[in-house]
Symmetry: C2
Subunit: 380 residues, 2 copies
């Protein structure tokens, strides 16, 4: 345990400012055009629900394309050493309640945090028992479980899991499964960038994804998934934009004071740079493991790697964002958006028109060459 | 005039929180490792000076590479319709005082705001008299003027001007000139991405830059310049990083409530994504023009295009940042950094190692092709 008391949220602290000051602060920090969304009163135990919407002008030739997303951040309900079947069942139970709550809030697209069906155990570098959490993306128990809920609630569900690929020698992947609102398996995307940072020793378990940058054309919008560490890579975000994404989900698991100041920056910058919505979802709580492990940082071995600070949020193409969910509690963020805002923002800022892709295609091709020499200006 | 009273700064508002809350807020909003830098007391009329430094661990095999940058944001001192020679002279006088103040604070690299030798008159779309402000990058009056100050103060100076290229048919460019600490012209960089947004009708005056992404290896570090609107383009930032930049300056001129929420995000995201320091400099004040102009937004013609909100700041590779300068006053931001933090951050986060440049070289080459089809997954 970190031993210190975690603050509940940045927004709670800011709310101590007087109304006029808070208004000015919010305008600079959160942008304009995000407001509270009215939803029915929903009773859901241990689940804080917040709901927002982004403003978007009407157009003459296109109808609004209104979509509601649901971002679910949660603690693992059992001890990390609980048997796998029990752990998974407890998480499925938790998920069902969150999805039912989201359905009551008319959510169209629901997304979990990264590797949601298990503790985030990659810090341990143990293969046993964690590899046993891996499931077949198309036919595994979690996909089958969610197919029923997707069909029942007419909801697209994004389910980031540890994937076992039996068709290719049983290798593992960090994968997001997309299930459509008819309960059908729609496809999957494998995490493109794998961290080798401190406790995030994920390269022990799986390699860089081989699924490119797919955009899934659902009935509720064109969506993509940039899994966790991929949010540090602007090129990863860029390719989802180039492939036409209107909403990019960023299911994550991140901790610590080195990471937290980045959390509000990266997914939001991606929304701005690519004129799409981004949905950043972080795990919440502290997970304690049975066996101690070291963190590659000269400190003694220990049994947890710090507090997942939650704070999930949605950013709009124009750079506005919602407040974050709690840093300490399970939460569901419901956000309504008009996807027309993507193209409106492209027309306004012109970032795609002025992008000079041809220039950078050449520059990156040169830079990727083994014998590349940087454009360095020296005096002598 | 905007008619409303401008707030002085975000930080001033936040400082109304109690000490403990402010500490928590700052940690999330500004990261860790930035602290006040002690400098001698400097008397400088109408110039608010703030000074900070970033922490950086010592290494065993490399000495620290300590550099101090100075970011200067200023209002135009005369009315915009003052004769060109007078306007330029008044700006030179202001600049000299700022550079002398920076020298007293031991600044090594000094950078002005975008097009600092003139009002930001491109909103007018008038060619007369504004084109007359353009100067030869290598031998113009501003470069000659700054060469003396650079030599005298042993200071590298970055001077963003409107450039007249007499060797190529008198065309104009938006250009940053680099003068080294011996007073020698070192080189120039031309703005790569040109806005076509509302009042920022700059494509009326100059085209996209043809100087690539040069990094200037000065005695005080490897520096590059991403001019204004280029900060919206992650690929532009990326190529400066690939070419080895340790500090990238972003001299800008930006106004308005659509832009301000983005201001703290973009240069800072670039620092994180590319493991270098970024220095974001914005103009300050409201500039009023003699002839009215329209803004492409269905509103009546008017004589100003809003308040340049200053708020210049420095961001570090680890995502920490300084507070911003004032939103309303002339200011000099002095910031000390150890450039070793760049490579340390690369080693820590591994973003370059995990970047998959070869993948994106191929993806962008495909995307730039006229017959490109996006990777879109459809059900039927």
């Amino acid at each position: 345990m970190s031993g210190k008391e975690e603050i509940e949220s940045l927004e709670k602290l800011l709310s101590k400012l007087d109304v006029k000051d808070l208004e000015s602060v919010n305008k600079i920090l959160y942008g304009i055009g995000c407001s509270k969304l009215e939803i029915p009163k929903i009773e859901a135990e241990d689940l804080e629900i917040q709901s927002y919407k982004f403003a978007c002008p009407r157009e003459q030739t296109r109808l609004p394309k209104i979509t509601r997303v649901g971002l679910f951040q949660n603690k693992t309900p059992l001890e990390t050493w609980a048997p796998i079947q029990e752990q998974r069942q407890a998480l499925h139970n938790l998920a069902e309640k969150a999805i039912e709550a989201a359905a009551k809030a008319s959510v169209n697209i629901f997304c979990f945090q990264e590797a949601w069906t298990m503790p985030f155990a990659f810090c341990t570098r143990e293969k046993v028992p964690w590899c046993e959490y891996a499931e077949n993306a198309e036919k595994g128990p979690t996909t089958r479980f969610l197919q029923n809920l997707a069909l029942k609630n007419n909801m697209v569900i994004i389910s980031p899991i540890l994937e076992r690929d039996e068709d290719h020698n049983d290798v593992l992947w960090n994968t997001a499964v997309v299930i459509d609102n008819h309960g059908d398996y729609f496809g999957k995307h494998r995490k493109n960038h794998i961290p080798r940072v401190g406790d995030f020793n994920e390269s022990t378990y799986y390699m860089e994804g081989n699924t490119g940058h797919p955009v899934f054309e659902t009935e509720f919008g064109k969506i993509a998934i940039n899994i966790c560490y991929g949010r540090h890579h602007p090129l990863n975000w860029l390719m989802f934009g180039i492939n036409g994404a209107e909403i990019v989900f960023n299911p994550s698991a991140t901790t610590g004071e080195l990471s937290e100041p980045l959390w509000g920056i990266e997914a939001r910058n991606a929304a701005i740079a690519n004129s799409y919505f981004t949905c950043a979802i972080n795990r919440v709580g502290t997970e304690i493991f049975q066996n101690e492990f070291s963190s590659g940082n000269s400190k003694p071995a220990h049994k947890d790697f710090g507090h997942f600070y939650g704070a999930s949020y949605v950013a709009a193409p124009n750079g506005s964002r919602t407040p974050g969910l709690s840093r300490i509690n399970n939460g569901l963020l419901v956000c309504e958006m008009d996807l027309n805002l993507c193209r409106q923002t492209k027309d306004f800022w012109g970032l795609q028109m002025t992008q000079r892709l041809d220039l950078y295609a050449k520059s990156l091709t040169a830079a990727a060459d083994l014998y590349f020499k940087p454009q360095l200006i020296k005096k002598f």
